[in-house]
């Protein structure tokens, strides 16, 4: 990120040839940090899809002779307390690790973005009401609130992630509302009115793209946070239910047996850290690229 600030300034965004222009994605890939983070996430997607074929064992197959097996050629990342292959369980858990943030951030976007745009552009009563709702949600401790929702609707991954989406939505609402407020003051919003745009067209066509940079950054960072929260809730036994595995539930079992197999926390722990780091790095890079793209 910081290593890339110099090229960011000098990169010829305008070039001499406006006919052929570089897409935002290509600009992103020119940053090593973003390319690595994006590549890592892409690799995860591929692994998640291919997991049933490339995993050496069935993730739920028990082999008590391999219980607490150390890292070996036979069990690359060892075995857990029931002798299930950790590498296979880790691979299969990638799906949940990616799906869970998508669900919660998706819910947060659906709830937070339209309301934020509306409140930021129209202000007045709509803004007051929506902002108070957001403040109320934000004043509740997030995880505890998610726990309360889960207590009502029951445990399970989807329930947990939707609950987290509700918890995240005021964050997105605030980001979008603040950015939309600034954009609403811009003369180009007046000129879009002056050519006859309706309010909803202004919202989606003129305001949304101009708040996209902070929105994307926040959404990407929330993806990391969602993964972390999912791991936390599964660690507490509220997310994924056995025998399915998630990185959080794997951490839980590793924690339970930490004195017998101290190295078992490493695979799921490192997986969580790397993935969250990748989301955050990507978020930073998106912000840098998008702000360099449209301003000056």
């Amino acid at each position: 990120m910081t290593t890339q600030t110099a090229p960011a300034g000098t990169r010829p965004v305008t070039a001499g040839d406006p006919g052929r222009r570089t897409s935002t994605i290509r600009l992103l890939l020119r940053r090593p940090s973003a390319a690595v983070a994006g590549g890592f996430l892409l690799l995860l997607v591929v692994l998640a899809v291919l997991a049933p074929w490339i995993a050496p064992y069935d993730p739920n197959e028990q082999d008590l002779s391999a219980a607490f097996a150390p890292y070996s050629a036979e069990h690359l990342l060892g075995g857990d307390e029931l002798g299930r292959d950790v590498a296979s369980r880790l691979l299969h858990a990638i799906r949940l690790a990616l799906l869970a943030p998508l669900i919660s951030v998706g819910v947060a976007i659906v709830l937070g973005v339209p309301s934020g745009l509306w409140a930021g552009l129209r202000r007045g009563l709509a803004d007051t009401v929506l902002s108070r709702i957001a403040d109320t949600l934000l004043s509740l401790p997030g995880l505890a609130f998610a726990l309360a929702i889960v207590a009502v609707v029951g445990p399970g991954l989807v329930n947990v992630m939707v609950a987290l989406g509700v918890v995240f939505s005021p964050t997105l609402f605030r980001v979008v509302r603040g950015a939309a407020m600034a954009v609403a003051e811009e003369p180009y919003i007046d000129s879009s009115r002056a050519i006859g745009c309706s309010t909803s067209r202004i919202l989606w066509v003129h305001v949304l793209p101009n708040v996209a940079a902070p929105l994307l950054v926040q959404a990407t960072i929330l993806m990391g946070l969602a993964l972390l929260s999912e791991a936390g809730l599964s660690f507490l036994g509220l997310g994924v239910q056995p025998p399915d595995s998630s990185w959080g539930s794997m951490l839980r079992t590793a924690y339970d047996y930490q004195f017998r197999a101290p190295f078992a926390v490493l695979p799921p722990g490192i997986a969580v850290v790397l993935t969250v780091l990748a989301f955050n790095t990507l978020g930073d890079a998106i912000r840098d690229v998008m702000s360099a793209r449209w301003r000056r």
């Binding site: 040839d17 006919g19 000129s191 009115r193 002056a194 050519i195 449209w294």
Partner: protein
């Protein structure tokens, strides 16, 4: 368009209030003027005297807190103030185009230039994007942007200020409007570009018969470009006249003082006359003539009465009771 003498745009007795706490009724007071088809009318005055507010009212785009309290705005025979929002939207960008002061910030930074020009046509004429873009290319040619094909795909920040203003104009005339509202279209540009943009507007008037309502405080631009002038001071129209007579024989002490304040080449080493003081802030308007405290001819008892517009025998209108009665005769000639 038609042979009758009904004006294209007729603003009559327009009064705008600032509502809410610290509000000011009569921020714009009793403004009347007309724009005929193909004509160019200037709205002049110092900053903060209600020019832009008047223009925005015509578009139905007053900022929050401002409310039209009276009067009418008739465009092509229908009262815009009585129009529902839907109908207003079809007028904006359709029959009335608008060009604003800051081209850089008046263009959406995330939208390609071609799409911004095409947007009006897609909205008003229901054209498909491809068709509208083809038309946008022609419009870019029309407003004098070289290499139009490639410029369609450019973002606004990739263009110079003059180019951006040309794009704004292209978008304003995209649906062949009858009237273009130009709110200080050249103020943010440097002098040579100003001349080019005015030349472009002049061409559009000549070739397409577009009427222009030009909001400006640059008297040079007015002399150069406009047929008639509406001078505003502190929210009220103080004089209406045609350009030649305004510059030759102003009918209000304020316009007289404005003309005197134009720097002259022929008078080296003289002190430039100025108008003392500043435009009163909203809420601090005098009860009598709003210009009286700064007027060189003030202090007369008739200046303490609220002033009303009076039409002189030769058709000019003034809001100075003393000039209207022949009690005060202003110096002739001067800045041209």
């Amino acid at each position: 368009m038609n042979a009758t003498h009904e004006p294209l745009l007729a603003v009559d007795g327009l009064t705008i209030d600032l509502t809410g706490p610290g509000g000011q009724p009569g921020l714009v007071q009793d403004v009347s003027f007309e724009v005929h088809a193909g004509e160019s009318v200037a709205l002049i005055g110092e900053s903060g005297c209600g020019k832009t507010m008047t223009a925005m009212a015509v578009l139905g785009l007053l900022p929050a807190g401002f409310r039209v309290a009276g009067g009418s705005i008739r465009f092509q025979g229908r009262d815009l103030l009585a129009c529902p929002e839907r109908e207003l939207r079809s007028v904006r960008g359709g029959a009335i185009g608008a060009v604003f002061q800051e081209p850089m910030s008046s263009l959406d930074p995330t939208m390609r230039v071609g799409d911004q020009i095409a947007e009006a046509r897609r909205l008003h004429l229901g054209e498909a994007r491809k068709v509208a873009l083809r038309r946008a290319r022609e419009l870019l040619d029309r407003v004098g942007i070289p290499n139009a094909e490639k410029r369609l795909a450019a973002y606004p920040h990739e263009l110079s200020g003059g180019m951006q203003q040309r794009v704004m104009i292209a978008s304003a005339i995209a649906c062949d409007p009858q009237l273009v509202l130009a709110d200080e279209p050249t103020t943010a540009l440097d002098v040579t570009i100003q001349a080019e943009i005015l030349e472009l507007l002049r061409d559009l008037r000549r070739e397409q018969g577009i009427a222009v309502l030009l909001v400006t405080h640059d008297l040079g631009v007015v002399a150069d470009f406009c047929d008639r002038v509406v001078a505003m001071y502190a929210g009220a129209v103080v004089e209406r006249s045609d350009v030649d007579r305004l510059f030759g024989r102003p009918a209000h002490p304020y316009t007289r003082a404005l003309l005197d304040a134009i720097p002259q080449n022929g008078r080296p080493r003289t002190v430039l006359p100025v108008i003392r003081g500043r435009v009163p802030a909203a809420g601090q308007f005098p009860t009598g003539c709003r210009f009286e405290p700064r007027c060189a001819h003030g202090g007369h008892e008739r200046c303490l009465q609220p002033q009303h517009e009076a039409v002189l025998p030769d058709g000019r209108a003034t809001r100075c009771a003393r000039v209207a009665d022949g009690d005060l005769v202003l110096a002739e000639g001067g800045a041209r």
